[in-house]
Symmetry: C2
Subunit: 198 residues, 2 copies
């Protein structure tokens, strides 16, 4: 199960995962950012952004959406998406999330969007997808799964800004007969959401 | 400094970074993959793929390449690329790496390639870029930085398969007057490298 969009890691490291001794936050020699460094074995523990892989499954013009059964944003609608795992490709992660959240078989298509969700330390990578059949269902992380015509998409109940962005660009492209990739940053500055297109 | 392409983390976790007690590897309830889980506080420690952000800086038809001063692949040529950091966008990470490795000011352009480097737990995301001026130099992680005409690229001394792929597709696209995004997996199966285009 993808544990989608939850922060997946303790934000503050207190102990070295290699030797168990306390770590401190400091800028290692030759580096330019503070890292957690072990006071005993000197291991440097890097934290880097994580990838959320998702897809927009289409069937006869309708889009598959899932209503979330888990926090954050329980009860809101999203596309299948979740944390990419070690040992897989980002496209396969997106297809796996469709299987897990909507029991859906999809064929991954072109890249739809890359969204830098800067304060969450996440990069959301979302692909177009074709539903291979209509044997989808409700996965354990979903309350409900449905196929939506463009006119019926519950825009006011979309779980995440990145998903709203990907869906809107997807539909604009579809109307125009193209399949572009779209890029945006979602950031917070002085407590306010700032959106930057690229 | 980007510490490019080095494995950035201990591959095996022995102690909980939250409480310092030993962890074991097990599949948490409701999950489907083994994770390191603390025997005392039950914290689940997830490991996910990391992003290498890079760019292909161009100036008057020539491409900027760096000869690596660090392992792995010391002495081999690459484009500016390195680990994306928390708090930045992938495009800004690519530009920062150009600054660090080649003291180069670049303007990031369109997406050139996404390569899943599966066994390394990395996703390489590489952009086209325009060198803003020719005031580049040799950063501390480079032995040498140069501008190469297509005919002079040292193909047999390129450091990484992902970079070879991005450069070749970039040049093909340039000849054809297009700017496509290209996708590949680099995997190992039975001890052999397997390349999969997508």
């Amino acid at each position: 199960m993808g544990a989608s969009f939850r922060l997946r890691y303790p934000l503050v490291m207190k102990f070295c995962s290699t030797c168990g001794h306390p770590v401190i936050s400091k800028i290692p020699e030759g580096d330019h950012l503070p890292r957690f460094v072990c006071t005993a074995c000197n291991t440097i523990h890097y934290e880097n952004p994580r990838i959320i892989a998702g897809c927009i499954p289409e069937w006869e013009g309708k889009l598959l959406l899932c209503r979330r059964a888990i926090e954050p944003r329980r009860g809101y609608w999203t596309i299948p998406a979740g944390f990419m795992e070690n040992g897989e490709a980002v496209q396969d992660a997106a297809a796996r999330e469709a299987q897990e959240e909507a029991l859906a078989d999809v064929e991954i298509g072109s890249l739809a969007a890359i969204v830098n969700v800067i304060r969450a330390h996440q990069v959301h990578i979302m692909f177009r997808a074709r539903l291979k059949n209509t044997n989808f269902g409700v996965g354990p992380e979903s309350l409900e799964v449905g196929m939506y015509d463009e006119a019926d998409i519950p825009w006011s109940e979309i779980a995440f800004l990145s998903v709203d962005f990907a869906l809107r660009r997807y539909l604009e492209d579809r109307r125009a007969g193209r399949e572009d990739a779209h890029f945006r940053d979602i950031d917070y500055v002085d407590g306010k959401i700032v959106l930057r297109d690229r």
